[in-house]
């Protein structure tokens, strides 16, 4: 076979390889993006769980510590603000405030030994601590996935494909100057 006759075969081969690569990259990006959405949804689930647990907690503590109305107000207000936050950044800020309010609520509860022995209170405390941890971990996973995703759509040659199909950079779920773990710790 002469070289010229070989050329169309080589060309077709090249096109096929490039097409396959394109498909592979695109699918990978789709998978990553879905992972990202899923990770965000997980955070959402945990945050909602926290919102649901808080009224119960406030009621339980109120039953024993009737005069600490200031703390209860703070917690309820913080919760409402967090539930109504719109952007990722706002939400993160509001969540931080809520965590602080909860910390002070648990600090208040320390002074009431009857409350600390209440089974309901202990159960709620464990659930809230765990929910805080879950928020932290799902946030951690979300941020890790965001980093992987952002890196992937920005390196060459993948960024060409990303640009073609409109894969956009994502924002991290972070608050400036926060500690790594914010679970309200109560010592007995």
């Amino acid at each position: 076979m002469t070289l010229i006759a070989l050329l169309p075969i080589v060309l077709i081969g090249l096109i096929v390889i490039v097409a396959l690569w394109l498909v592979g990259v695109y699918n990978g990006l789709i998978r990553l993006r879905n992972q990202l959405e899923n990770a965000w949804a997980q955070i959402d689930v945990q945050l909602k769980r926290r919102y649901d647990l808080i009224p119960n907690l406030v009621e339980t503590v109120k039953g024993y510590a009737k005069h600490e109305s200031g703390t209860f107000e703070r917690v309820t207000q913080a919760r409402n603000m967090a539930m109504s936050a719109k952007t990722v950044g706002d939400r993160a800020e509001a969540e931080n405030v809520l965590t602080g309010a909860l910390k002070s609520l648990f600090a208040v509860a320390e002074a009431y030994p009857d409350l600390k022995a209440n089974q309901n209170f202990l159960r709620l405390q464990e659930e809230l601590t765990s929910t805080e941890n879950k928020i932290a971990f799902s946030r951690q996973f979300y941020n890790d996935t965001v980093m992987t995703f952002n890196t992937r759509i920005e390196v060459f040659p993948v960024n060409l494909v990303a640009g073609m199909f409109n894969f956009l950079r994502r924002e991290f779920f972070e608050v400036k100057g926060e500690e790594q773990r914010q679970a309200p710790q109560v010592k007995f």
């Binding site: 992972q35 765990s130 941890n133 879950k134 799902s138 679970a183």
Partner: protein, 469 residues
């Protein structure tokens, strides 16, 4: 993060391919030697052995692991803290489904993970582990097990084990035939042409070397794999928790324990977090050890400057003068800071964590109005019982006659370990009033006069029981 797992998978695939090649070479040689020069027949035999073994392992893995173990599947109310830890780690690791939790009654602290399908995984812990470790340490151990699940280590090690098993079996067969019949040379070498003779001889020689050294090589490869995967799981676990000291101090506590895990065997040992056959995982380090030395693992974890895979790699390199991760994996490694420790102590006392195990031992539970839950012990003959807190007398639901349900004859004559898959028990009703009988797991089951169905399901072990009259 899933990208990283995929990347190290390339190495894993390469190793499996290597073992597979060894298997096929031995098969071919065997065929050449004994099947009148039909190497292909030998190949076929090798493949048959492989797939049969695969089927056996795949079908029996769970049963094998739990054989002889007294275990119960944990429900959330049994230990909400442990449940929460597993859920937290599931989120941190990005696993799609939360694994079920098995609690094993064993004083030796140990844990393992298993899962054939992604939506049906199990993380098992012993009672000895749960009451010894604090929250951070338990988190570290669970994270390590989740890492095994995320890296598909169970499937990988099963495949490697099957490879190894096939190679060993095939080599045994060849040895036997050699011993009995002697290698018969091919009679058709003349008809194959003149130049082929010498090349065939060389191939045969190479094949023989594989035959003799193959099983040894495969074993060394298998155990090297096992050790590397343990390090990998340590690294990923530290990254999930962002707190390597948790796992490090857990390993330290485990190695200080002086008991061996009772139900483990040589075949199932690689799946545990520390070698269960040696107390505290203190096995001598050799080419044939399934786990790296616990001391080395602790040293590496404590030498980490951060919590990312790169930090682990650095610490690993310092301790072992070797590389662990492929360059591909490290490229996508995240920066990882170490978080502050939590100061929660052990999450359950020894009594509390053993309580779920008693569920399956036939304690009839009666609730008194004062809030007390009374466990009626096995063999209690009366119709009433007195509450020890408030003194009120409670009626027991006609549990005076406790018959045992007769088990239908099992197929293999061996007691099946997983009750929900076992053939159903049969119970014949003695009358039409209240009746109670014992399931094979020990739980007392009550039947009311109005019970009319033909089957009942044991709440504790999941066994099906046929009711006949």
């Amino acid at each position: 993060m899933w990208e990283q797992i995929r990347a190290n998978r390339r190495r894993a695939v390469a190793l499996i391919t290597l073992m597979g090649a060894v298997l096929l070479v031995i098969g071919y040689t065997a065929g050449e030697l004994f099947a009148h020069g039909n190497g292909v027949l030998g190949l076929g035999l090798a493949l048959v052995i492989f797939f049969v073994q695969l089927g056996v392992y795949y079908g029996a893995a769970e049963t094998m692991l739990l054989q002889g173990a007294n275990f119960v599947e944990l429900k959330r109310e049994d230990s909400p803290r442990l449940f929460n830890i597993v859920e937290e780690m599931k989120l941190a690791s990005g696993l799609e489904f939360t694994p079920r939790i098995y609690l094993i009654d064993d004083p030796a602290p140990n844990a393992f993970a298993m899962g054939r399908k992604p939506d049906d995984c199990v993380v098992a812990v012993t009672t000895g582990l749960v009451h010894r470790l604090n929250r951070d340490e338990l988190e570290g151990v669970i994270a390590h097990e989740m890492a095994h699940l995320k890296n598909h280590d169970v499937q990988f090690m099963t495949l490697a084990a099957v490879m190894l098993g096939s190679i060993v079996i095939l080599a045994e067969i060849v040895q036997r035939v050699l011993w009995l019949g002697g290698g018969r040379r091919r009679d058709r070498s003349e008809s194959r042409g003149s130049g082929g003779g010498q090349a065939q001889l060389i191939i045969l020689a190479v094949g023989l070397i594989f035959l003799i050294l193959g099983p040894l090589m495969a074993q060394i490869l298998y155990f090297a794999c096992s050790r590397k995967r343990e390090f990998l799981a340590d690294a990923c676990g530290a990254q999930f928790t962002r707190y390597p000291e948790g796992l490090a101090s857990a390993l330290e506590k485990i190695s200080a324990a002086s008991a061996t895990t009772s139900f483990a065997s040589k075949a199932t040992a690689p799946l545990f977090i520390v070698n269960p056959l040696y107390a505290g995982g203190g096995e001598p380090s050799s080419v044939f050890s399934s786990h790296p030395s616990t001391a080395e693992r602790i040293r590496i974890l404590r030498g980490m400057a951060g919590s990312s895979l790169t930090d682990y790699e650095t610490a690993y390199h310092k301790a072992a003068q070797d590389t662990l991760f492929s360059r591909e994996t490290l490229k996508t490694s995240q920066r990882g800071t170490i978080r502050a420790p939590s100061d929660e102590g052990p999450i359950e006392t020894r009594q509390d964590i053993r309580a779920p195990l008693y569920r399956t031992r036939g304690y009839l539970k009666v609730k008194c109005d004062c809030g007390m839950e009374i466990s009626v012990p096995e063999g209690y003959e009366g119709d009433e019982i007195t509450c020890i807190r408030c003194g009120s007398v409670l009626l027991l639901p006609a549990a005076s006659k406790t018959h045992a349900a007769a088990p239908a004859p099992t197929a293999a004559g061996l007691p099946p370990v997983i009750p929900s898959l076992a053939p159903p028990l049969q119970y014949r009703r003695a009358g039409s009033g209240w009746e109670s009988f014992r399931c094979s797991c020990g739980r007392t089951i009550q039947l009311s006069p109005s019970f009319a169905a033909s089957h009942i399901h044991c709440d504790d072990c999941g066994r099906n029981i046929e009711i006949t009259s």
